[in-house]
């Protein structure tokens, strides 16, 4: 294992410290390492619904990279591929509370769901109303390592963006929760791995993949996907991922979508654009309008080579909220 790290046990703390120093104009990290979280510089916005997300580290820029105006108020990084405990989630919830309640955005992994639930109960004991949305956008498999039901993957970014915009414009907790739920219901994703990744404290790759094989439907922790198939061309892989996504979403002629092609961390950007270009062509040939696009590393799996395709069907006001200004370390436009 060769990595640009010092102590495998210190990876998250050192990385978050560097992150907070690099983006001190936008974010701050908590002082107590026992309740580590990242929050908006300047603290909670009075009267605004707070948005908190979090989960195991190793998926950067998710979640801390999306803390800032128009997106998250706080993010809680666990150990690599390990849910944060309730204490830092509760502390982040308090930090994000501006008096209008807090929305938790939770990827559907058993540990995350339980720990966010416990943190929500603790927060409510302190009179902070909390609502939660659980993200289950990965169409690859039902139930999996770490998960009952579908996993939450790259579509999480779109929920965070749009819910964040709703909170920023002043929507109340019930409305922000309703909008986040609508995004979660209208986004689907599926990924492919060309290579595995290595968790620092494990020291060896999380799975083996032969030089001739790829794994379709891979999870963002390297959990098994739908099937291992012989390595194929980008267009064929794109078509298989996209078909799984759009079939599940029952995309139809005339739909308007956001297309997100997400890199897993070790994939050249040029390859993501090849996947994007073909996915867009396939969608357009079906009469679907690609209204907005994101191409890059948003929800990664350390240095895994691979990509995922997410499609969000744009209903009602979702496009307006997607377009709203966002100022975070990893996503920034319009302001």
């Amino acid at each position: 294992m060769k990595k640009l790290i010092n102590d495998p046990e210190a990876v998250v703390a050192e990385s978050v410290a560097g992150f907070a120093a690099a983006h001190a104009d936008l974010v701050t990290s908590s002082a107590d390492p026992q309740t580590l979280f990242v929050s908006r510089a300047g603290g909670a916005v009075s009267g605004k619904v707070g948005i908190v997300s979090g989960g195991g580290s190793g998926h950067e820029p998710l979640h801390a990279g999306f803390v800032g105006r128009g997106m998250l108020d706080a993010a809680v990084p666990g150990a690599v591929f390990t849910s944060p405990t309730p204490d830092p989630i509760q502390a982040a919830t308090q930090a994000a509370d501006g008096g209008a309640g807090v929305l938790h955005i939770v990827k559907n992994y058993t540990g995350d769901v339980l720990n966010f639930e416990t943190a929500a109960e603790l927060a409510e004991l302190e009179d902070i109303p909390v609502k939660s949305v659980v993200i289950t956008d990965d169409v690859a498999v039902e139930d999996s390592l770490y998960t009952a039901g579908r996993r939450g993957v790259a579509g999480t970014v779109l929920v965070e963006k749009i819910a964040g915009a709703a909170a920023e414009r002043g929507d109340d907790l019930e409305t922000v929760h309703r909008i986040a739920t609508r995004v979660a219901q209208n986004v689907r994703s599926m990924g492919v791995a060309l290579s595995a990744c290595t968790v620092p404290h494990a020291g060896k790759p999380s799975f083996d993949l032969s030089p001739q094989e790829i794994e379709l439907g891979i999870g963002i922790h390297g959990e098994p996907g739908r099937e291992r198939v012989p390595a194929a061309g980008a267009n064929e892989i794109t078509e298989r991922l996209l078909a799984a996504v759009t079939d599940d979403l029952t995309i139809a002629d005339g739909d308007q979508v956001v297309l997100l092609v997400n890199g897993m961390g070790g994939t050249p950007l040029s390859e993501l654009y090849i996947v994007y270009g073909h996915a867009r062509q396939v969608l357009e040939a079906r009469g679907v309008t690609v209204a907005r696009s994101l191409v890059g590393d948003y929800v990664t799996s350390l240095e895994m080579q691979g990509a995922s395709i997410s499609v969000l069907r744009l209903e009602e006001e979702l496009l307006e909220l997607f377009d709203a200004p966002v100022v975070t370390p990893a996503l920034r436009w319009g302001a």
Copy 2:
């Protein structure tokens, strides 16, 4: 070799097509594949100095990712790790010309320098004044594979950003050239590779590195660096890279700098922040102020694992120009 590509010979064309489709609000690609370049949507800005860069592909988001308001007017992608020929550079120069002349920003590789020179001569035959700045920020080695003198690497992004801002505010060609030259003179970089990358049409890694070794001073095409050393911790690697950079730049107590920690393409973002955090501490301990920071994949080598550290000493108005608004696919702030 497993890659998300179709035909190795079509990688650049397909990737640029996807890129242009994804960012059609900001950029457009030329119609003729024989003179492939990417330019600002809306065409040249009348009365503004045009800024053109380019070089071999495989370093994305460099250069096309930096086309847009406040940075490049056009970028010319060659084949992977291969200089573009004079024809597309000339065509890009014409497209970028708003009547105030064009600046060429050229990384110091023999092919790039020759082909940009030829293109500049062709443009001048058409009465487009062209000035050039050659980037030589890599302190690792003098002369190298593909290069006489020092190589141009990640510092190029800072030249493009600041020269672009000068052009955008209306500086004339002589002034933009002078500012670009000042940035080039005040930026130094050095990189490290933990693993090699594979050029698509070559089909095998460009060099071999044992599981116990890293290469200090690596070039962005995998050209040999200063030395191969046993894999070490991130802090030790950071200190070695930074010492080489700051010694060469003769950084002194009281200096104000931009610190750029650049990923080579296959490095987790979390690791880049670990390197950044330590580099910043070392600089601050020496009395240097890190005024601005960039951390991420800006000048990559396909899927190579590794990073580079660049330091730009901020003289006079360079900070103001760095902070000026920029709206490109890969760098965006202030507007």
